[in-house]
């Protein structure tokens, strides 16, 4: 078999992720590159359950489960701890969902980013509180159904632009990534491993039950989100140097958002006008990103 990403697995099978889970795949891919000298911190998120019940665990590296709003700072504490009591080169990782990052964890996240803690922060973004049964978060896109934004009144607000917030902290490295592009993610991780300071990864991770998609379509949907620029792939260095890294820059074409929207049950109630509005927003944001990348 051809291995385009590291072959070694740092997650055991038998974990409790739903079928086709983007979040499970995201951590599997990330750990392959981070390697064994890594300590994980999870706040409350799907992975609190996925990892398995006591006394079992799916991950093959040390893991500390912490409170919902404390992923970034607990991981900063772990880093300080290993610096003083163990190997200072051990990688400390906060691994959080979008709720634990965009909402309840943003204070500790901002604090750790401002202090430029030498750690990785990953958000695996499935765009709602999936573990508690699909409630809206500030990462839920406009127009989406969730159990707290019913179809009669879907989410009215846009998804929070978290990456720009983190960029405003001028941290050394920020990347967006997507489970459908593991080679891109791996490349970025390798780059980030060489950087001292705060590394932030925003990983797009579809949730079949929460998005009302067929589990087999996780990768297909994730690819569409990148191709149609709903979730463009890029890096930001030192909060100002933007680099767009789309999978096929030469063959870049205008892929409309329609197919992506229509394939998901959470958007089924949207009318043509709603979809046009989403398209206009995506186009505008893409133009802005391209301008930032020209600087």
């Amino acid at each position: 078999m051809i291995y385009t990403i590291p072959q070694k697995e740092l997650i055991n099978p038998g974990h409790l992720a739903c079928q086709g889970c983007g979040g499970a795949l995201a951590l599997r891919t990330v750990l392959k590159t981070l390697g064994e000298n890594t300590i994980l911190t999870f706040p409350a998120c799907c992975w609190s359950v996925i990892d398995g019940p006591f006394p079992y665990s799916a991950v093959k590296v040390p893991l500390f489960h912490t409170a919902f709003e404390t992923a970034a700072v607990t991981a900063a504490g772990v880093k300080a701890g290993v610096k003083k009591a163990q190997d200072p080169n051990t990688i400390s990782v906060a691994w959080a969902g979008d709720g634990g990052t965009f909402d309840i964890g943003i204070q500790a996240l901002s604090g750790a980013a401002e202090r430029n803690e030498d750690m990785f922060y990953f958000v695996y973004d499935n765009e709602a509180y999936m573990n508690t049964g699909v409630q809206r978060s500030s990462a839920t896109p406009k127009g989406a159904w969730t159990t707290t934004t019913p179809t009669q009144s879907p989410k009215k607000e846009r998804k929070k632009d978290l990456v720009s917030i983190i960029a405003a902290h001028a941290v050394p490295y920020i990347a967006t990534a997507c489970v459908a592009y593991p080679e891109d993610l791996t490349k970025k991780l390798e780059k980030a491993k060489k950087i001292k300071g705060f590394k932030f990864f925003h990983i797009f991770a579809p949730c079949p039950p929460g998005w009302k998609i067929n589990p087999q379509d996780t990768i297909r949907i994730a690819k569409m989100a990148v191709e149609n620029k709903m979730f463009p792939l890029f890096e930001i260095e030192d909060g100002e140097k933007y680099t767009i890294n789309m999978p096929n820059p030469k063959k870049e074409k205008n892929v409309p958002v329609n197919e992506y929207i229509l394939k998901q049950g959470r958007f089924r109630h949207l009318k043509e006008d709603d979809i046009n509005e989403i398209q206009a927003f995506v186009d505008k944001r893409w133009e802005k990103l391209k301008k930032l990348a020209e600087i």
Partner: protein
């Protein structure tokens, strides 16, 4: 504390670690029982490109002796990502007989 294969058996409070700490892996858990459909690899079509392996969230695809994809049915949850992503349509989802 006792072990029964991959399972861990506690009998009393004194058997427990100081806090809820893992002592074994999730490999005890036969997630294959969740499956409604099973992926079946047609080895004659499989090119060994590794795409199915790369995208499996459940670490349930391995390389066989001939460099082709093989499914670990003990763990495979039957999501079907491999069948959809296979560029040569070498994996087919077949209804699970229960």
């Amino acid at each position: 504390m006792k072990r029964d294969g991959k399972k861990i058996i506690f009998e009393k409070a004194g058997d427990l670690p100081p806090m809820a700490m893992s002592l074994g892996t999730t490999e005890y858990n036969e997630t294959g029982s969740w499956r409604n459909e099973r992926p079946v690899v047609d080895s004659s079509k499989c090119t060994g490109c590794g795409i199915c392996w790369k995208f499996c969230p459940d670490i349930s695809i391995k390389e066989d002796a001939n460099g082709k994809a093989s499914i670990d049915y003990f763990f495979c949850k039957g999501c079907g990502i491999c069948a959809v992503e296979c560029p040569v349509k070498a994996i087919e989802m077949k209804e699970e007989e229960k």
